[in-house]
Symmetry: C2
């Protein structure tokens, strides 16, 4: 019989921290904490295998589960000294999700399971607190009706708004009728009456009664958690995070402990170090007389657990350190135990029930990039981890945060501060205010930067939060939904900006003590590190002058074996990339210089060339282009002095450079002294049905060899300081490379002679971006000293996906899971990857010392860097700001492969 259930409690457990795949992160860590002697309410974990079996069986719990759960429940009862469903000494339990990888707030939880007509009197007698029991009961009804009876059953939301909202309105109505401000003002009798009304509403709207049998509640709870694995929020989150759909979740069934049993009870969430900065300070928030969900939901602004956690918003609130010094000490000791044991920063949840501390959960804590870097360095220096571990501790994508700009401090002090909040996600962000997640998504699609302003965020907002440049909420603490999610992504975020009064309907926000009313579209700037919100757009500056960052990258480089270059077309880009550690340029696009208008600009002369009718006219126009080309190349090449630089010959189709508008055509005709009709006609003659597969790249070089001649001539004059590599684009046959090489070699020799220059030791190679070139790489390598994979075009042609035209179906493909990922973001290992592997093998069979790189956009994507490492590439090349990411990804790839320099 398959073992689906694993118990924990009373200092022992059937699982360990290494059982994450089976028990989920939460379950495995609960087991581990138990084994470490940390006080954990007893319980058991229903495994992820059971989740798989549940879905395989058509959403039915497997039959063999029943006995196992009943046995585990017995053990839990014994450990806690209470009995589930018992009238005198009843045990209450929670059902919580727990996947391999944390998905905060994305799946459902049911608390207080086991409260029913039979157990309520016993609970009241035991606690002497009828108000608490009735409050727990109405919470159970609310949560259970929502999660188990409505959502998990796949019902349409009752009255279009859902049962939870209906019950919430009933609660508000009751409060209003009783003249109560807060939930806590309601009496036990009020709550008892409310529970009865709740049950009536449930039966009316959901068509069946709230179950009064504790076992029925338990099975419903377990199934609901499994069901929520495929809820809309969870699926959407997994898509963004790249979590496979087939992992499944475990269910943790655990004895309830209560933080809301009066002022000697409390609940809290903490990080063993500051998750925003990485500082080695115990960092957390708590609420007296509250349940855990009150903290996470951000409904009440929580108090700091200690002085270290105090900030402007919560400075006045009492800390646990002061209110319960003994319990705090115990918690602080557990913090140390856990960090020593897990050698990492942990995110913990605890509850104090009538003075007794219980640990409800611990997991590796999410952190910002800055925090990840600082913790890695600190823990290395503390001797907690070694260098390899330190390098592995920062996800390459997290470095982005460190590279993104911060607000220029010189202007920030004089800026118009609108309001302050909690610094939930560091860095800075600037954009137009939007008030809904949909608007944030729309702005993102339109290529606009937005700041999502919400009263508080909830899991439905996830896509909008992803799309926004920054997130700002009026409510919630550092461990609220918005803060957790934003931090996971390293996104600039400010929460709990209590001075803001958001009206989502009118899409405006008032500010306490200010006449300013913020409207949709207003530009604001967030300083996520300080929690400051400014009016307008503030200047940003570079944040990389961090010695710890430099130290970390240097350390990573000691493990790295694959080269990292940059794609750069200008001296500025080249310099930035070099400062980020680029070891050369993998791609200079020579057409870059043609992107400026005006009759003194190179584009003008290029157009003159395109509009020429004979090779002579073309050559004359090219001679006028010469100085621009040389000037443009020279600066870029010199910025890479001593390093290799790959210069690609002209790539795009000529028609891209013929002006389209009537006015522009007329203007150009005047400037060139030709007829507008000629320009129009030429434009039409150059028009192509599928330009991506048209007359471009080496095909231009074959038909207009003057262009290659001119480029070679200028390279010969400009290239002496670097190690130039001439790259032929869009090749499909070795003959194209040979014919181009004849031109470049000839012109090179001519120019040397003409100007008495020293011979350049240039290398000669090609882009591999056409499938045929990859297939015939053994031949291509005969004429090439290097290959560079143009994975953008190679992906387009291998899939038959025009990148400009996938908008109509790519989302459907991802939603329907027809493709695992967008192949333009991460190299498709199966298809495109197969071509790349073939090409590498065949190329090296011909020429063992063939240099091979990649210059497509995936070159800066960590998963793609992994692939490039595994495939044996010499280097990856990416945009300047991705260079550190690629360096770290390459180092981690080497470490993962267990190899070292």
């Amino acid at each position: 019989m398959v073992k689906y259930v694993y118990t924990f409690g009373g200092g022992t457990a059937e699982g360990t921290a290494s059982d994450k795949n089976l028990l989920g992160g939460k379950g495995a860590n609960l087991a581990e904490m138990c084994s470490q002697g940390i006080p954990v309410p007893a319980g058991f974990t229903v495994s992820t295998e059971c989740c798989t079996a549940y879905y395989a069986g058509g959403c039915k719990l497997p039959a063999e589960l029943t006995g196992q759960v009943l046995a585990a429940l017995k053990k839990t009862e014994a450990n806690m000294g209470m009995i589930y469903g018992d009238a005198v000494n009843p045990l209450l339990i929670s059902c919580r999700s727990g996947a391999r990888s944390s998905m905060p707030g994305m799946m459902d939880t049911v608390l207080n399971v086991g409260l029913c007509t039979a157990t309520i009197p016993g609970m009241i007698a035991k606690t002497g607190n009828p108000r608490f029991v009735w409050d727990s009961y109405r919470r159970l009804i609310m949560m259970y009706a929502d999660v188990v009876m409505e959502k998990a059953e796949g019902l349409e939301p009752a009255l279009g708004k859902g049962i939870r909202k209906i019950l919430d309105e009933k609660l508000d109505e009751t409060k209003h009728a009783k003249g109560c401000k807060s939930d806590t003002d309601l009496t036990a009798d009020d709550l008892k009456a409310l529970a009865a009304e709740f049950k009536a509403l449930v039966a009316k709207h959901l068509g069946k009664p709230f179950p009064d049998d504790p076992m029925a509640q338990l099975w419903g709870g377990i199934a609901a958690v499994f069901k929520s694995w495929n809820g809309k929020k969870a699926v959407s989150y997994r898509r963004i995070e790249g979590i496979p759909d087939d992992w499944g979740t475990a269910v943790n069934v655990q004895a309830m402990v209560f933080g809301n049993m009066g002022d000697s009870s409390a609940t809290g969430v903490a990080f063993t170090r500051d998750p925003a900065t990485g500082d080695n300070k115990f960092y957390g928030e708590w609420l007296v007389n509250a349940q855990g969900e009150d903290v996470v939901a951000g409904i009440r602004t929580p108090s700091p657990i200690n002085d270290d956690t105090k900030n402007e918003q919560n400075r006045h609130l009492v800390s646990m350190q002061h209110a319960m010094p003994e319990t705090y000490k115990e918690l602080d000791a557990i913090r140390t135990t856990l960090e020593r044991h897990f050698t990492d920063m942990l995110d913990i949840e605890f509850t104090i029930q009538e003075g007794k501390l219980w640990m409800l959960q611990c997991r590796i804590g999410k952190r910002t990039g800055t925090a990840a870097l600082n913790m890695a360095i600190d823990m290395l220096d503390e001797g907690l981890i070694d260098k390899k571990t330190a390098v592995m501790r920062v996800a390459p994508k997290q470095l982005e945060e460190l590279l993104y700009p911060i607000i220029d401090p010189r202007t920030e002090k004089d800026a118009h501060l609108l309001v302050k909040g909690l610094p939930a996600g560091p860095g800075a962000a600037c954009g137009a205010l939007v008030f809904t997640a949909e608007d944030a998504v729309a702005a993102h699609r339109a290529g606009k930067s937005s700041i999502l302003l919400r009263e508080e965020t909830n899991p439905e907002d996830v896509e909008g939060m992803r799309a926004a440049a920054g997130i700002l909420t009026a409510r919630g603490g550092m461990t609220s939904h918005a803060a957790l999610v934003a931090r996971g992504w390293g996104k600039c975020c400010i929460v709990g900006a209590g001075g803001l009064h958001v009206d989502a309907k009118t899409k405006t926000a008032r500010i306490t003590g200010s006449a300013t009313v913020l409207k949709e579209g207003d530009i604001v700037t967030l300083n996520g590190t300080k929690g400051h919100v400014y009016m307008g757009s503030l200047p940003m500056m570079d944040a990389t002058e961090n010695p710890r960052f430099q130290r970390f990258m240097t350390m990573a480089d000691t493990f790295r074996t694959m080269g990292v270059r940059t794609n750069a077309d200008t001296p500025e880009d080249a310099k930035v990339a070099r400062s980020f550690g680029a070891e050369g340029i993998g791609l200079v696009r020579t057409e870059h210089m043609f992107y400026g208008e005006g009759s003194d600009q190179p584009l003008f002369y290029l157009r003159k060339m395109i509009l020429s009718n004979t090779a002579e006219e073309r050559r004359a126009a090219l001679n006028e282009l010469f100085p621009f080309v040389k000037a443009s190349l020279k600066g870029t090449l010199e910025a890479m002095e001593g390093l290799p630089v790959t210069i690609r010959l002209l790539d795009p189709p000529l028609h891209e450079f013929v002006p389209q508008g009537v006015e522009k055509q007329a203007e150009l005709a005047r400037a060139l002294g030709i007829r507008v009709e000629d320009i129009k006609k030429r434009g039409e003659a150059l028009h192509e049905t599928n330009p991506m597969m048209g007359h471009r790249g080496v095909r231009l070089g074959v038909t207009y060899p003057e262009v290659s001649e001119m480029q070679t001539a200028e390279l010969t004059k400009a290239g002496k300081k670097c190690v130039p590599e001439i790259m032929v684009p869009v090749t499909c046959d070795v003959s194209e490379i040979e014919v181009t090489k004849k031109i470049t070699d000839r012109v090179h020799a001519e120019i040397l002679k003409q100007f008495g220059l020293a011979k350049l030791d240039y290398k000669y190679g090609t882009m591999i971006e056409i499938p045929r070139a990859a297939l015939l790489s053994d031949r291509m390598a005969k004429a090439c000293e290097f290959f560079s994979f143009g994975t953008n075009d190679l992906t387009q042609l291998t899939f038959g996906f025009s990148r400009d035209d996938i908008g109509g179906f790519m989302n459907e493909y991802l939603d329907q899971k027809l493709l695992a990922a967008d192949p333009f973001q991460t190299i498709d290992r199966d298809g495109v990857g197969m071509l790349i592997r073939m090409s590498v093998d065949k190329g090296r069979a011909t020429r063992p010392d063939l240099k091979i790189g990649i210059c497509g956009e995936q070159g800066g994507d960590p998963a793609s860097v992994d692939f490039c490492y595994e495939t044996g590439l010499t280097y990856v090349s990416c945009s300047p700001f991705r260079v550190p990411i690629a360096r770290l990804a390459a180092a981690q790839a080497a470490l993962k492969a267990g190899r070292k320099k």
Copy 2:
């Protein structure tokens, strides 16, 4: 030392007929004829290896050649009893090209080599015919100056027209001055003076004197022939014929014999059977007192060699059979010997020098498709060849002639006959008159059918002859340049239409005895089988009701192992293809039905569907489409009763069906009752940058599953008589096939239930037309019972060549030899072929009984059929008229592989 020189003569030879690669076709056959005791002027062949060495050495004859040539020359002198360069008994020689494969008129020849100041008196004494000697001398100067001194040296044409033209003008000038009509009216003295003037002109225009040293003449002649291998004409011809550039030519140096030594001398060209019809009749032409070039050049209309060869044009001329009965008998005996020996029809050249018959050349004769078919059947029946050989004797492409229409005989008898000529190439052709090769090429590019009308053709016209639908010349015989070339291609051709007076300058032609003046653009129809030219466009009819054709195809099928299907979208096409032997349909394009306009046409409802905003509207429009789809499919499927039919789901992007013009948009808007703006907007929304790689094929099925549903529903209703195969286009991942199969299986079941139909045993498969699908064929095969290679798109994506856009560079690629052939005509074995081989291997590894076909246009190309056979495909599918070609090509592929049923 490499042996470069092979002698022949006096009944022995160093080579044999099997040495074609080394000695060229002509050299090998000269050697073979010698060994057979046939009278051949002695000589020697300089091998093709020497040609290769010549080019490898930078266009220098290899040093070791000298001694070998001198020794062979000695042997030739001994055999012929004359001495080269001798003052008393001088031997004259010819230098002729001879490649592996015949290239008539494409390379250069030099005759009369050895005539010089020293040998002229001896020749005059020996022949007693000073006029003949001086005439030979002026011919030598002309030919040598042109071929050896000007062309082979790569000089620009003297005075822009070339030395040959200059000398020709001098000849005309002399004739005019002397009042002569014909060359033969010039006296010995006239010719002697002319020779002196020729030499002066040569020295003046070419900068050096005509060589007077016989050995210098010989070396010049040999080198010039080698050089002419890479002349423009030869290269162009090779491109068309697919002859590799690296084969090289041999040079045949042979003792001259003279057909122009008076009335007992003659020269002729013959075929051992009629090359136009295949009739077993000795067929040839001769000219008394002439050199061979006079026959081939078509300057004089030659006489028939026998009664069998007489026709309307030459009926009045004296035949060899009557004029020289003994010599004719000897020639006829040689004809029999040769056919027995070579077991094929031969093309022979002979010369009679003062009554003695010499065979100058024999080679396998070019023939029309009709002749090839008839000869194969006849020779089989005569026991000359076996069935396998018979099947190999017809080139698959030659069948085209047999399939192309002839003029409907019922209308031909009343048609307006313009003029008669010689029936040089059979079949019929109709088109607009053009007067230059360039115009024929231009008409072809514009997609127009043309008839090329020339006084006579020359090798410079080859590309125009290729481009024209038919060829018509005023001069020349059945063995003239035009006739030979056209016959090789199976192109309709009429030569020697003496009633035509062509004025190439005004692009008009008068007709003897008629007021009609033909102008450029006039439509004429040729009956190439009769030699009749008609005014206007005559109705054509099918020519395949030939029982010999049926017998031949049936015989071929006994050797064939690979299936042949057709691509057909209509019942008509399906019926034609089935009559041509198609064994099913490899591709039904379901979008075919959308090519008719009008609001009662399916296109209207498709547009309604495209302009729908919701899935409901779309489904409603599709319901209106249902009956059309069903009707269209039903007829096509029923025409293939009992055979497999592959139906492809919708393939093209939707925007192709949105009307473009303002008027059409307005009309549609009225008909649909919507706003023009909506149509415009939808068109714009559907517009794609690279539609070939856009939202089409299965991608439409993923986003609009209603379309696949509708198609499946109608197929289920219409498909019961054939064996349907549902094919999913444009797939790149097995998931796309799986998701589509779910739809088709479901809808199929629903329709069966709804209409109480019997289950269709349909097969399910995919096009392999995206490189990724080929690469991942092991996975694709998991969801497929068959693959069909869409080699059009697969070629586009593998090369990155948009077929619509290659016009700008493909010709350059072929001219510069960057690609060996246009990959859209013949499958690129190296690249696309590699993908196909991988796909076949991987697909069959998953599913050993996987059916695999090809439905791209290359399916009817014989070289591609060869490839498909070698790769193990189950069938090829091609357009109806190519079905017999594919059947024969497949049979030949099996025979070539040495396999039989």
